[in-house]
């Protein structure tokens, strides 16, 4: 008797679980590890009010985000990079900005991790191409007079992403726009052909970059600002970067906002634009829109409307753009003109 009861209960449980699974619309978000921490905050809050949508998040790298959104595996491909013209011609996708992000240059130089070294595009290009090999190189000393004597004769280990990455995209774009020799050499992309440097290390994802830089004395790495709490905890320093006006600025709400404002009027209706090396004395040079790469033609109507509802919520001042989410990951909300353009793009999802 008891056995029958248990079996019946188990069967009922199964039915109710599968019933729920059938009723809920599944949405898969995958890609950028820079956007991943924010997505987790968003999804947790959104699910509480919308039990009928099941959103799964994955931090796999922007390259994966773009390719899985194209292949249809994921409904939202998170990317720090907008898609290239040639890619768009092959597979037209929506590139929808969700927030404004930045990237910091972290380093592990014993004795200097609690101050902010100055670094410039040409010096970073020199480091990543192997011409600047030690932390006490004259070119680094020149822009760090204050710490000149404290810079150690320590080998620099340039750390880059080994997976396809939007962070590689925005970092290499900064080098391209600030340093002619880099523009004529490796250029920019989600994966680039790094110059031959025997000490250079490849790491996977932003978490891998933090860990490798923490383990490596003399290491330098480019890491998304949403990992600032982790890089602080790891005891890494971060640099003030030289902007287009020749000023060294730290990534703060003020400097990131200044850079975003200087380019928001120029953002086209498809919103594919680089915000790197923006003009203005206050502008931080490595900022970007965080994109949701979305196929305008979804496989079914239920998915399309659930997707639109979530993306629209993420752009609301009272929703995804509120400070309680963005502050935690050091992102900035989109200016209202960009929100309008993003919403117009979301309307195209079918």
């Amino acid at each position: 008797m008891r056995k029958t009861l248990a079996l019946t209960l188990a069967a009922l449980l199964l039915v109710s679980v599968s019933g729920r699974a059938l009723a809920a619309t599944d949405i898969l978000e995958t890609g950028s590890t820079l956007l991943y921490p924010l997505m987790n905050l968003w999804v947790a809050a959104y699910q509480q009010a919308h039990g009928d949508v099941q959103i799964t998040t994955q931090g796999t790298g922007s390259g994966t985000g773009i390719s899985q959104a194209i292949s249809g595996v994921a409904q939202i491909g998170a990317s720090d990079a907008y898609m290239a013209d040639a890619q768009m011609k092959n597979s037209p996708m929506l590139n929808i900005p969700l927030a404004i992000s930045a990237q910091q240059i972290n380093y592990n130089v014993p004795g200097l991790n609690d101050v902010h070294l100055n670094l410039s595009g040409p010096v970073l290009a020199g480091i990543y191409s192997g011409q600047i090999q030690y932390w006490d190189d004259a070119k680094i000393k020149d822009i760090n007079r204050r710490y000149g004597s404290k810079l150690p004769h320590l080998q620099i280990v340039p750390i880059h992403r080994s997976d396809g990455s939007g962070d590689t995209f925005i970092f290499s774009q900064y080098l391209t726009k600030s340093t002619p020799s880099w523009a004529g050499g490796p250029g920019y992309g989600t994966t680039i052909s790094w110059p031959s440097v025997s000490t250079a290390v490849g790491a996977t994802g932003n978490p891998g970059m933090v860990q490798t830089c923490q383990n490596t004395k003399g290491g330098i790495a480019y890491i998304g600002v949403s990992f600032l709490n982790q890089t602080d905890k790891a005891g890494l320093g971060y640099a003030a970067l030289e902007n287009r006006s020749g000023k060294f600025v730290l990534p703060t709400a003020t400097t990131i906002g200044a850079a975003a404002r200087s380019l928001d009027a120029q953002t086209p209706s498809d919103e594919r634009i680089s915000l790197i090396f923006a003009p203005g004395a206050e502008s931080y040079p490595i900022i970007n829109y965080e994109y949701a790469i979305v196929n305008p033609k979804q496989s079914d109507g239920a998915k399309a409307s659930a997707l639109k509802a979530f993306l629209n919520w993420s752009l609301e001042r009272s929703g995804g753009q509120s400070a309680r989410f963005l502050d935690a990951v050091h992102f900035l909300p989109l200016p209202s003109s960009i929100v309008a353009k993003s919403k117009a793009q979301i309307e195209k999802i079918q």
């Binding site: 080994s162 396809g164 250079a200 290390v201």
Partner: protein, 347 residues
């Protein structure tokens, strides 16, 4: 099918119902196993055929530079310019030279064998002859457990424990105190690199080699060991001069099995190798990269290459790995046949 029916009918004339049943089922079994054997050939050749067909544009585009150039560049994805060679097009600046990855695969796998073969033989011999009977089952169970651990677990352990240790303690000490020895001096690096890859790969292949070597030694009757001891040799001499030569074939087979595993291992290596690109290792702590690891780490960006050439070049890399593995197998069979002939009827 017709053949089966015929043979069944032919058997039916002469045989009793019981024999008929047996012969019938035997014929069915023979056909099924025959088909399965054929299928395994067909699958391998079809895979290779489709891989090569898919990689063909890359094979033409890259030419011999694929094997001689260390520069891997998927080209400027965000430009509008393209480059054409041999009638096939890629993004401007694209160059697919796989020398770094081919060299890295060979180097990590060979060094792994150098570390793992002697260790595995010693462990296998001691499991059979040395370890007290009481704890032998436990030791055997441990070896089998290690052989069954998924590679990503080794990789994760390597990433969070081994790499920080190499980068923080081992490499600085070795490069400072033993730096005068070739390939041990120079930059200590981050811990990700050749040493970590070889360490992790050794951990992964040693249990496999120990298990297979132990089994072939156990399959050999104990009389050889005892006879050798009776003739006055030490147990070391008995093991090395009498037992090991008698199981040479089995050892070669297990070494090649392990070599294949080391060549093809992907995730664990990717997690600790430092993903070198365009550069060769300078010392044992330098970052390296292997064919398998680079296919995984480059795949997603390659999939977004509008010209498709990056994907096809990765397929060409996969062909190379496939062919190397096939060659290793063929060579293994050659060695074993050679050993057969030398050892004559004895083996």
């Amino acid at each position: 099918m017709a053949a089966i029916n015929l043979s069944v009918r032919g058997a039916a004339k002469a045989a009793s119902p019981a024999t008929l049943q047996r012969t019938g089922s035997q014929a069915v079994l023979r056909t099924l196993t025959g088909l399965a054997a054929l299928a395994s050939f067909a699958i391998i050749f079809l895979m290779l055929f489709f891989l090569i067909a898919y990689a063909y544009p890359a094979i033409r585009f890259n030419g011999i530079a694929f094997f001689t150039s260390p520069i891997w560049n998927i080209g400027n994805q965000y430009g509008s310019a393209t480059v054409s060679r041999a009638g096939f097009t890629a993004e401007a600046g694209a160059a697919f030279g796989a020398l770094v990855f081919i060299f890295g695969s060979a180097l990590t796998a060979l060094l792994t064998m150098v570390v793992a073969v002697p260790l595995s033989l010693m462990v296998a011999l001691s499991l059979v002859y040395r370890i007290p009977r009481m704890i032998r089952p436990l030791a055997n169970a441990l070896v089998e457990l290690m052989a069954g651990v998924p590679s990503v677990v080794y990789g994760l352990w390597g990433m969070v424990v081994l790499v920080p240790w190499i980068g923080g303690a081992l490499a600085p000490w070795v490069t400072t105190h033993l730096g005068f020895i070739p390939f041990l001096g120079g930059s200590a690096g981050s811990g990700n690199g050749l040493a970590a890859s070889v360490f992790i790969l050794s951990l992964m292949v040693i249990p496999i080699m120990v298990a297979t070597t132990r089994d072939v030694i156990l399959a050999q009757s104990n009389s050889l060991f005892e006879a050798s001891m009776a003739l006055g040799s030490t147990s070391w001499q008995a093991m090395v001069r009498a037992v090991l030569p008698s199981v040479r074939k089995g050892i070669v087979a297990s070494v090649l099995l392990a070599f294949g595993r080391a060549l093809g291992e992907t995730m664990a290596v990717l997690m600790v190798c430092g993903a070198a690109i365009n550069s060769f290792p300078q010392n044992v702590f330098s970052p390296v990269n292997t064919i398998a690891a680079v296919i995984v780490s480059q795949l997603e960006s390659a999939l977004t290459d509008a010209s498709g050439m990056a994907q096809r070049s990765l397929a060409e890399l996969a062909c190379v790995l496939f062919i190397i593995t096939l060659l290793v197998n063929v060579i293994a069979r050659g060695i074993m046949r050679g050993a057969d002939r030398r050892e004559g009827g004895h083996a």
